[in-house]
């Protein structure tokens, strides 16, 4: 099969599947090497950038997913009812970012940083499949360790955990504080 035909098949598979699909799965169906699948997918995602295309090819870890182009959101959203699902609260986002950056992390560590108990929030994040238990700490009490899920990457549009925004304080403010700091 030539590359154009392979790309056409991959596009059909991704469209039909909808959810993020593992690159190995695609290779298996087409009976080709992962490296070739990877090359094809990379070329395809380049091609989707063209102005006359309405889809984009998104990568999350080893998974790929077709989504509609964000520039067209306004028009696409005309079709939909407003989202009734409540977005994540600030408190939930705080706990989630602690888990994302410090994983694997115990609930105690989250509590300590936030200064409040996070039981309820951790549970709701679990319910939304954004975090999961990824093991137990080999310490007394064997507390469970939390980490983020694949769905977390998809939800925030991150290609991998390495693409999390850098963990830094607002530089401008710090500089102000350091230069403006005076002794009491």
């Amino acid at each position: 099969m030539n590359e154009s035909k392979l790309k056409s098949i991959i596009e059909s598979i991704l469209f039909a599947w909808g959810d993020p699909l593992d690159i190995r799965e695609i290779s298996k169906i087409l009976n080709i090497k992962d490296s070739l699948t990877y090359t094809l997918l990379t070329e395809m995602s380049q091609a989707y950038l063209s102005e006359d295309r309405g889809l984009v090819l998104k990568k999350f870890d080893d998974c790929y997913q077709l989504k509609t182009k964000d520039d067209n959101f306004f028009y696409v959203s005309e079709l939909f009812k407003p989202n009734t699902r409540t977005s994540l609260s600030n408190a939930a986002l705080e706990a989630l970012s602690i888990i994302a950056y410090k994983q694997p992390v115990t609930k105690i560590e989250i509590d300590l940083i936030r200064g409040v108990k996070s039981d309820y929030i951790v549970k709701s994040l679990m319910d939304r499949n954004l975090i999961e238990i990824i093991g137990k700490l080999d310490k007394p009490g064997r507390p469970v360790l939390y980490g983020t899920t694949g769905n977390f990457l998809t939800h925030f549009g991150l290609a991998s955990l390495k693409d999390l925004p850098e963990l830094v304080l607002d530089e401008e403010k710090i500089i102000n504080k350091v230069s403006g700091g005076d002794e009491h």
Binding site: F73, I113, L167, H184
Partner: protein, 236 residues
Amino acid sequence: MEYIVHISKFHGPFELLFYLIEANEVDIYDIPISEIADQYLSYVDLLTGFDMEITSEFILMASTLLEIKSKMLLPQRENQEDPRAFLVNQLVEYKLYREAASRLKEQEALEARFISKPAEEIEYDGTVNEQLLFGEISAYDLLYTIKKLLKNRAIPIKEETTYVIEKDEYTVADCIHLINEKLEKLKKLNIIEIFSVNQSKKFMIVVFLSLLEMSKLRNLKLIQDRVFGEIFIHKA
């Protein structure tokens, strides 16, 4: 006019402390502890009337602030660590993740503009060669499939926990009556004879219970002349 602060919007002592630091436009690395502690305490006072559950954490912070304040009043020795250092480190770490959270929020909003569709439950015409289709599928395949499906369900199906309790076919009272009748005719009876009236397991259990009961009530004697020998019933 009474001024009401919606304290519940602060999810924890750090958030409240941050609000105060930002509202006062003070340096996080050089917090005027005295002022901030006073303001913090007045908020906690307000809070106390509402929700004791939440306030324990706020009160802990209040006492920490007061401790630092009192330490600040003492003459400082040289090379002594700033009493605020520990709190500031905690605050900075919290702030770090707070800002990360707000960036995640932006990221979330950006990503929401890309729309995906859920996986289709695609069915295609599989009836073309039914003979062939079912030829290779055994009942075990079906069982395996349904188990897999059930396992994948988010909410597990509740197993059937009700069952019908049938009325006893034989009662101990009936059986005692039966044994007595037999004993009336024959003074001595082989235990096997009674058990062989009905081969059902339920019957045997009831006979056994009846014999025990009657023996307890001294209505009969159980006699066995040697070990593992046959057991006979005698009328008492």
